[in-house]
């Protein structure tokens, strides 16, 4: 019973993370792209305040569940899936840490009321990193779903 519960916890956590990333991709990002620079900077900063620390904690929770599943899994298939899921989630964390977070820091250091003429719009790069981590998160979710089936 324990491996199956852990597999489902991983599925729930990776599902939430994928849902958040997907909603950002289809809804939040097009909205941010439609904004004038000053308004965008304010909105990005405000969104970041709601995002942290809940989201990084959820990714860590899913990662810990996959590591635990790799340890307690009964068979090779479940163990392989758990390790693959953990690798995908590490991918999410690396992309966040080295792709999105540095851009967030730049945006947090930008004065929305004094956007310079040569302002480098960070939105396209942020979106590229976000799409990459969404790919990792959806992969981790798909693997978690397979792990639930295998441990059943």
């Amino acid at each position: 019973m324990l491996p199956q519960v852990i597999a489902v916890v991983s599925l729930a956590a990776t599902g939430i993370v994928s849902g958040v990333f997907f909603a950002i991709t289809v809804s939040v990002l097009p909205t941010l792209f439609a904004m004038p620079p000053g308004q965008y900077v304010t909105a990005h900063r405000r969104l970041g305040r709601g995002y942290h620390p809940v989201m990084p904690l959820l990714v860590s929770c899913a990662l810990l569940a996959d590591i635990a599943l790799a340890v307690v899994a009964g068979g090779d298939a479940a163990r392989t899936l758990a390790i693959a899921g953990a690798v995908s989630l590490i991918g999410v964390q690396l992309v966040s840490q080295f792709g999105n977070v540095p851009i967030n820091k730049i945006v947090h250091g930008t004065d929305p009321d004094a956007i310079s003429a040569d302002w480098a719009d960070p939105r396209p790069a942020w979106r590229s990193w976000h799409l990459l981590r969404t790919g990792f998160a959806v992969t981790a979710m798909t693997i978690a779903a397979a792990a639930v089936v295998v441990t059943a």
Binding site: L11, A13, S18, G19, T31
Partner: protein
């Protein structure tokens, strides 16, 4: 069949909970911070882009839980799946009677020409609160579904 529907309920329910969580944690506070003329187009864009995804996830989770409640062999799994289905019905009721009507009204407004009594009719706090209610229902349903798996084996 049950071992197919319970993970499907967790999958669809997780995506729905995630979508609602970002709207509760990030979207609503951002909307509340905007001046009225920029708030209206931003609300329209955010909500409009979100639309088919959310109802599809909620309905999939609801139908999966109904299927489990019908198929479940034991009392506990049956009870938990039924409870999760009721929670998803609550999510849908709040959406359809509270948040969606506000969205529809917002869609009719002209950002360049907001209502003169905006201070009085500003729906954002109400929208934020009901959104928090439905998000709570969705997260609870997800927790109940995860618990249901423990009783499957």
């Amino acid at each position: 069949m049950i071992t197919f529907f319970v993970p499907l309920a967790v999958l669809a329910g997780g995506l729905a909970a995630g979508g609602l969580m970002i709207s509760a944690l990030g979207g609503a506070p951002m909307l509340l911070a905007l001046p009225v003329d920029s708030y209206l187009p931003v609300h329209k864009l955010l909500v409009g882009r979100f639309d088919p995804f959310m109802p599809i996830c909620i309905v999939t989770a609801l139908l999966s839980d109904v299927a489990v409640a019908v198929l479940a062999p034991t009392g506990v799994t049956h009870t938990l799946a039924a409870a999760a289905a009721v929670l998803y019905l609550c999510v849908m009721s709040v959406s359809l009677t509270k948040n969606v009507p506000i969205n529809r009204w917002i869609a009719t407004l002209d950002p360049a020409n907001p209502p003169a009594d905006w201070q009085r009719v500003d729906p954002r706090v109400k929208w934020r609160n009901w959104n928090l209610v439905r998000t709570t229902f969705a997260v609870l349903a997800l927790v109940v579904n995860v618990a249901a798996v423990g009783f499957l084996v």
